[in-house]
C-alpha cells in the first residue's frame, strides 16, 4: 500500500433483509435476503431484467426498497439517501463529469466533504497513481480512451475511502481484449485494498474470473449463492446450471448409485439424492465421445473444429447433447457417424426435480 489510497482493515459487511422493489406493477426484486461478507468481491450475476442492478442501486441508495431493510455494517441505512451512505459506485457509462478535468472529477467528492486543498491534492494524486494514471489530471474525460476513463471513474470512487465499493457493469463499454486486462486490474486492486465490493454483471465468464462469491439472480430472486467453483460444479437449479458455463441438461433416473439416461445406465453416486427422476447436468467438456463400446448411442449432427477442442452436436434418443472433445482422441468424426457417449464422473451433477 505504501501509505497511499484507502486504508485496509475497515472492511464491513452488507446485509439485505427481505428486500422487495416494485416499479408500478413490475416486481423488480422479490423478497431478497442476502449477506455480503466483509472484504470480499461479490458478484450479482444474472440475465438482464433479473433485478441485479436494482439490488445494487438499493444498496447505493439510488433506489428505495418498497419493503425490507438494507444494512451496511450494523447500521440500518434504509432511510438514508445515497449521499449519506459510505458507499461509492463505478457506473456503466462511467458518468465522468464532461465539464470538469480528470483532477476535478476525482476531487469532486473531496471538495464536497470539505477536504483542505493540500490534503486534497495529495489524495487525488495518490489515487490517480494507484490506478496508473498519474499524468492525466489536467485533461478532460473526452480526451481519454475508454480504458482510461474507466480507471478515472474507479479513482473517483476510491478516493472517498468507501466502506463498500459498487460496480455496475463497469466493463461493458470496453472491447474484449481491454476488458480482460481491466478485469485483472480491478481484481488486483480489490485484493490489495480489501474493500467490500459488490459487482454487477451479466457476463458469467467475468463473474467466474473475478469473484470470491457469486450471487446468481433470476426474475427478481436469488437462485444460488456460492463460490465460482461451487456454482459451476454444483448448480442448485436448472437455471444456474444453464446460465453458468455451458451444460447439457438430460432427463434421467437415479437409484442406488446408478444413473439411467435413455437406454444407458452407469454407476454414479451423489450424496443426498433420493431415488427417482433427476436432471443430469453434464458439462460438454466432460462428455466423452467414442465410436464404439458402452454409452449413450447417438449420431453426429455437426462438428466444428475450434482449435483446442472439437465441438460436436450429437443427436441421441433423449435429445441433442453437445460435447467438446480434444481432437487427439478420435480425430475429427464426420457428420453422420454413430457414436457412444460416456460421462466423466468428475464433471457430472444430479439435480432433483424440485430444482425448477
Amino acid at each position: 500500500m505504501n501509505g497511499r489510497g484507502p486504508e485496509p482493515g475497515a472492511a464491513i459487511p452488507v446485509r439485505l433483509e427481505r428486500v422487495t422493489k416494485r416499479f408500478g406493477r413490475v416486481l423488480a426484486v422479490d423478497d431478497v435476503t442476502l449477506e455480503i461478507p466483509a472484504g470480499l468481491l461479490v458478484t450479482l450475476l444474472g440475465p438482464s431484467g433479473c433485478g441485479k442492478t436494482t439490488t445494487l442501486r438499493m444498496i447505493a441508495g439510488l433506489e428505495h426498497p418498497t419493503s425490507g431493510r438494507v444494512f451496511i455494517g450494523d447500521e440500518d441505512v434504509t432511510p438514508l439517501p445515497a449521499s449519506n451512505r459510505s458507499v461509492t459506485m463505478v457506473f456503466q457509462s462511467y458518468a465522468l463529469f464532461p465539464h470538469l478535468t480528470v483532477f476535478e472529477n476525482v476531487a469532486y467528492g473531496l471538495r464536497i466533504t470539505k477536504v483542505r486543498d493540500a490534503a486534497l491534492r495529495a489524495q487525488v494524486g495518490a489515487v490517480l497513481e494507484l490506478v496508473g494514471l498519474p499524468q492525466v489530471g489536467e485533461r478532460y474525460p473526452a480526451q481519454l480512451s475508454g480504458g482510461q476513463q474507466q480507471r478515472v471513474a474507479l479513482a473517483r470512487a476510491l478516493v472517498m475511502k468507501p466502506k463498500v465499493l459498487l460496480f455496475d457493469e463497469p466493463l461493458s463499454n470496453l472491447d474484449a481484449k481491454l476488458r480482460k486486462r481491466v478485469r485483472a486490474e480491478i481484481r488486483d486492486l480489490q485484493q490489495r485494498l480489501g474493500i467490500s465490493t459488490i459487482y454487477v454483471t451479466h457476463d458469467q465468464t467475468e463473474a467466474l474470473a473475478l469473484s470470491d462469491v457469486i450471487v446468481v439472480m433470476h426474475l427478481g430472486h436469488v437462485e444460488q449463492v456460492g463460490s465460482p467453483f461451487d456454482l459451476y460444479r454444483k448448480p442448485a437449479t436448472r437455471f444456474v446450471a444453464d446460465f453458468i458455463g455451458e451444460a447439457n441438461l438430460l432427463p434421467g433416473r437415479y437409484a442406488e448409485g446408478m444413473v439411467t439416461v435413455g437406454p444407458y445406465t452407469f454407476a454414479f453416486r451423489q450424496e443426498g439424492v433420493h431415488a427417482g427422476a433427476v436432471t443430469v447436468v453434464a458439462r460438454p467438456e466432460t462428455v466423452q465421445v467414442a465410436t464404439a463400446g458402452q454409452g449413450l448411442p447417438g449420431t453426429v449432427r455437426s462438428a466444428f473444429f475450434m482449435g483446442t477442442t472439437i465441438d460436436y452436436l450429437i443427436e441421441t434418443p433423449i435429445g441433442e447433447v453437445s460435447a467438446s472433445a480434444p481432437p487427439r482422441v478420435t480425430g475429427m468424426l464426420p457428420v453422420g457417424s454413430d457414436v457412444r457417449l460416456q460421462f466423466a464422473e468428475a464433471g457430472l451433477y444430479l439435480l432433483t426435480e424440485d430444482g425448477r
Binding site: 472492511a11 428505495h64 445515497a82 458518468a95 464532461p98 467528492g109 473526452a142 480526451q143 472517498m160
Partner: protein, 741 residues
C-alpha cells in the same frame, strides 16, 4: 476478518437545514411587518412587525413559537426520523396558521407573511424528506412545495377568479350575465333579421351539398360503407358550420373563422418553409432562420401597424402607388393577413423539427421501389408529417385566438373574443361580462391545448427507432423547390417591406400625406417614451431571471423526481401556455385587486404576470436540456456525497448553461413584447413600451408609435444577436472541453 463499525447511538449531528429555515422564519416573522397601509409592497410599518403584534395577538405568538420550535428541532439530539416528524408538524401548522391569519385579517400581506409561508414550507419539506414521505432530499422537497404554492396562487387562483366572476355577480350566484352575453348579437348572431337572406337555410344547403358530394365520391371509389357514412357526416356538419360562421356575425364567429383561416394558411406556409429549410438545393434557404425569427421577437402588432402604413386607406401601396382608397385591409381581412405573416414562423419552427426527424432512408426505400419523387412526397413524407402539421395548426390557432394587438389595431370596430374581454372592462366597465368572454376564450384554447397534448401526442410517428440512418435528406423536386422558394421570397419581401415601413414611418412627417424626413417623432419620445422603454426593460429583466429559474426547476422536478401530484404540477404549470394573455390579465385583476393578496397598481404584479406567463418557455427548454444529460452523472454526484442543490449547481447547470441562457433571453424578449396580459395591469407610473405604442397609435401620433416600435424591434434584434454570439462562444468552449485529441 470483518471489524464491524457501529454508529454510536445518541451522537446525532445537528440538522443545519432545519435550524436555518426555522431561524429565517422566526426572524422574518419577528422583524418584518405583517401588513402594509397601501399598495406599496415595500413599506415598513414598525407597529406591524411580529415584535409589536405578538403581545396582543396569540396567533402571531403561536407562529413565532412554531418557527422557534422548528429551528430548535434541528438541534434536538434525536434520530432524523423523529426530527422529521416534528418538522412536518411545525411546518404544516405554521404555514396553515400564517395563511389563516392573513386571510382572516383581510389586510394586504407584507414581508412577514412571505417569509413565514416560504420558511414554514421549507421546514415542512425538510420534514417530509427526513421522514421519507417524499423520496427526495430536503432541497427538492422544499422546492416541490414552493413551486406548488406559486402555481396555485399565480396560475390556478387567477383562472378560478375568472370562472367565479362569470357566475357570481355582486355576491350572488347567477347565470344571468352568462346568458345575456352568450345570446347577445355581439357574441354570435347566425340569423341576422336585418338581412333579407335566411342564413340558417343557406348554411344547411351548403352542408347538404358537401355531404352529397362526399357521399358520391365515396360511392364511386367503392369505399367501405361505414367510412362513407363517417366522412359524409363530417363533411356535411363541417361545411354547414363553416358556412354558418361565414354568413354570421359576432365576436365568436370572427375569432373562430380567423383562427381557422390563419391556422390553415400559416401552417401551409410553415410547411413549405420547413421543406425548404431541410430539402432545398437553393441558397435562399439560409435566409429562413433570420427572417422567421423577426416576427417572433417583435410584438405581433408591429405587423398590424405596418399593414396600415402599406395597405390602409392612405397606405403607401394601396393609395400612394395604386391610387386606391380602400379599407379592405382595415378589418378582419387585415387582421388575418397580419396574423398569417406573423404566425407562419411558429408553424415553421414546429414543422422544421418534424421534417428533420423524418428518416431519409424511408424515402430512399420508396425510391428504390420505383416511386417518383412526387409520389414519395405524397405517400411517405405527407403522411409522416400529418400529425406534426395538425400540431402546428392547433398552436397557430391558439395564438390567433389569443392575439390581442392585431385585432385592436386593425379590427376596424369588428369584435373579437380577445378584444371584447378588453372592451367589456375598459369600455363597458363590466368585469362579469369580460369574465364570460374570457371563459369562452379559455375554453376554446384549453380544449385545443388538450387535443394537441393528449390526442396528437400519441398520433406521432416521428422518432420511431431513434436510430440515425445516416442517409442524407432527399432534395425536393425542382419544380416544387422553385415554387416554394418563390413563396418564401414573396413572404420575406412582404415582411421586409412591412418592417421597413415602420422604420421609415418613424422618420416620416405624416405618413400618407407628407413623406418628408423628420427626426421629430424620435425626439418626441423623450422623456415619456424613453422612460417607458427603460421601465419595460427593467421589469422584463427582473422577471426573466425568476421565470427561467422557476421554469428550469419545475422542468427538473418533473423529469427527475417522483412525487404525488407530479403530473398535476406539470400540467398546471404548462397551463399558462394555453391561457390567452387577456384572460390571464383579467384573472390577475380579479384575483389581486383587494383583500390579503392586494397587488394591483404595483410593479410587482407586472413582474409576476411576466414570470408565470413565460415560465413554460423555461420548463420546455429545461426539460429538453435535462433529457440530454445522462442521469448517471447526477447519480455519480449523489454517490460522491453531494446533495441535490449541489448537484444542480455544480453538474446540471454547467451542462445546460447555453440552454439556460437562451431560456433567459427568450423570457426577457417575451416580456418586452407582451401586450395582452399586462394591458390591465399597467398604471401611469408603470407603463410599458407595447401598451404605450398602442396608446400612441390610438391617440393619433402614429409616428411616435412607429418610432417606439422601431426602437423596440432594433433592441430585440440586438439582444438576440448577442445571445447568438455568446452561445456560439459557449458552444466553442464546450466543444474544446469535449474535444477528442
Amino acid at each position: 476478518m470483518a471489524r464491524v463499525l457501529t454508529v454510536p447511538a445518541g451522537r446525532v449531528q445537528p440538522n443545519l437545514t432545519l435550524l436555518g429555515w426555522g431561524g429565517v422564519t422566526f426572524v422574518g416573522a419577528l422583524l418584518l411587518p405583517w401588513h402594509r397601509p397601501g399598495r406599496d409592497l415595500f413599506t415598513f410599518v414598525a407597529e406591524a412587525t411580529g415584535l409589536a403584534l405578538a403581545p396582543s395577538s396569540p396567533v402571531i405568538l403561536a407562529i413565532l413559537m412554531l418557527a422557534a420550535a422548528a429551528a430548535l428541532t434541528g438541534l434536538l439530539p434525536r434520530p432524523e426520523a423523529v426530527r422529521g416528524r416534528a418538522a412536518v408538524f411545525a411546518g404544516a401548522a405554521g404555514a396553515l396558521l400564517t395563511i389563516g391569519y392573513t386571510v382572516a385579517a383581510r389586510r394586504p400581506f407584507s414581508g412577514a407573511e412571505v417569509a413565514a409561508v416560504l420558511g414554514f414550507l421549507s421546514v415542512l419539506g425538510t420534514g417530509l424528506a427526513l421522514t421519507g414521505v417524499l423520496r427526495v432530499d430536503a432541497f427538492l422537497a422544499g422546492s416541490i412545495l414552493w413551486v406548488t404554492v406559486f402555481v396555485m396562487i399565480f396560475i390556478l387562483y387567477p383562472l378560478w377568479a375568472v370562472l367565479q366572476a362569470a357566475v357570481v355577480v355582486k355576491g350572488q350566484l347567477t347565470l344571468a350575465v352568462v346568458i345575456d352575453t352568450l345570446t347577445s348579437p355581439g357574441f354570435l348572431l347566425v340569423n341576422n333579421p336585418a338581412t333579407p337572406r335566411n342564413e340558417t337555410a343557406m348554411a344547411a344547403t351548403v352542408g347538404g351539398i358537401a355531404a352529397i358530394f362526399v357521399a358520391t365520391v365515396g360511392a364511386v371509389r367503392r369505399r367501405p360503407v361505414r367510412r362513407i357514412v363517417g366522412w359524409t357526416l363530417g363533411a356535411g356538419i363541417g361545411a354547414g358550420l363553416f358556412a354558418a360562421l361565414y354568413l354570421g356575425y359576432g365576436a365568436l364567429r370572427n375569432s373562430v373563422l380567423l383562427a381557422v383561416i390563419v391556422g390553415v394558411c400559416a401552417t401551409g406556409l410553415g410547411f413549405v418553409f420547413a421543406l425548404l429549410a431541410e430539402r432545398s438545393r437553393l441558397r435562399t434557404r439560409r435566409l429562413l432562420g433570420p427572417f422567421s425569427i423577426l416576427p417572433i421577437i417583435t410584438p405581433p402588432f408591429v405587423l398590424g401597424l405596418a399593414m396600415i402604413y402599406l395597405f390602409g386607406r392612405r397606405g403607401f401601396v394601396t393609395h400612394g402607388l395604386l391610387g386606391l382608397s380602400t379599407s379592405v385591409f382595415f378589418g378582419p381581412v387585415g387582421v388575418a393577413v397580419a396574423q398569417i405573416l406573423a404566425f407562419a414562423p411558429i408553424a415553421y419552427l414546429v414543422l422544421e423539427g418534424v421534417v428533420q426527424a423524418m428518416d431519409a432512408a424511408l424515402e430512399e426505400a420508396a425510391e428504390t421501389l420505383g416511386a417518383s419523387r412526387w409520389y414519395v412526397l405524397r405517400t411517405v413524407v405527407w403522411p409522416l408529417a400529418r400529425p406534426g402539421i395538425a400540431n402546428a395548426f392547433l398552436l397557430v390557432a391558439i395564438e390567433s385566438l389569443a392575439d390581442f394587438g392585431n385585432p385592436i389595431i386593425l379590427g376596424g370596430g369588428k369584435g373579437f373574443l380577445a378584444t371584447e374581454v378588453f372592451y367589456a372592462i375598459i369600455g363597458r366597465f363590466n368585469p362579469n361580462e369580460a369574465a364570460v368572454y374570457g371563459v369562452v376564450l379559455l375554453g376554446m384554447t384549453l380544449s385545443i391545448f388538450l387535443i394537441q397534448r393528449y390526442w396528437l401526442g400519441r398520433a406521432s410517428y416521428v422518432t420511431v427507432t431513434g436510430k440515425p440512418s445516416g442517409a442524407s435528406p432527399r432534395p425536393l423536386p425542382a419544380a416544387l423547390d422553385l415554387t416554394a422558394t418563390a413563396v418564401f421570397v414573396l413572404w420575406a419581401v412582404l415582411i421586409l417591406a412591412l418592417y421597413g415601413s415602420v422604420f421609415v414611418g418613424s422618420v416620416t412627417k405624416l405618413w400618407g400625406f407628407d413623406y418628408s424626413f423628420t427626426l421629430k417623432h424620435l425626439r418626441d419620445l423623450s422623456p415619456q417614451g424613453w422612460n417607458v422603454f427603460w421601465t419595460t426593460t427593467k421589469l422584463s429583466a427582473y422577471a426573466a431571471i425568476p421565470s427561467t429559474l422557476l421554469g428550469f426547476l419545475i422542468g427538473y422536478l418533473v423529469t427527475r423526481t417522483e412525487f404525488p401530484g407530479r403530473t398535476a404540477l406539470e400540467f398546471s404549470s404548462m397551463l399558462s401556455f394555453a391561457v390567452p394573455g387577456t384572460v390571464m390579465g383579467i384573472g390577475y385583476i380579479l384575483a389581486f385587486n383587494q383583500g390579503a393578496l392586494l397587488l394591483t397598481g404595483t410593479s410587482v404584479i407586472i413582474i409576476l404576470a411576466f414570470v408565470f406567463r413565460n415560465m413554460p418557455v423555461g420548463i420546455r427548454s429545461g426539460v429538453a436540456a435535462i433529457h440530454q444529460i445522462d442521469r448517471s452523472l447526477e447519480e455519480a454526484s449523489t454517490m460522491l456525497r453531494a446533495n441535490s442543490a449541489l448537484t444542480l449547481w455544480r453538474i446540471v447547470i454547467p451542462l445546460v448553461r447555453s440552454a439556460l441562457l437562451s431560456g433567459l433571453v427568450f423570457a426577457f424578449v417575451r416580456a418586452m413584447t407582451a401586450v395582452s396580459q399586462v394591458i390591465f395591469l399597467i398604471t401611469p407610473q408603470h407603463n410599458l413600451a407595447t401598451t404605450q405604442i398602442l396608446s400612441y397609435i390610438e391617440y393619433g401620433s402614429q409616428g411616435r408609435g412607429a418610432a417606439l416600435a422601431s426602437l423596440l424591434t432594433v433592441f430585440m434584434v440586438l439582444v438576440i444577436l448577442v445571445l447568438y454570439l455568446v452561445n456560439r462562444r459557449l458552444d466553442i468552449g464546450a466543444a474544446r472541453e469535449l474535444a477528442q485529441t
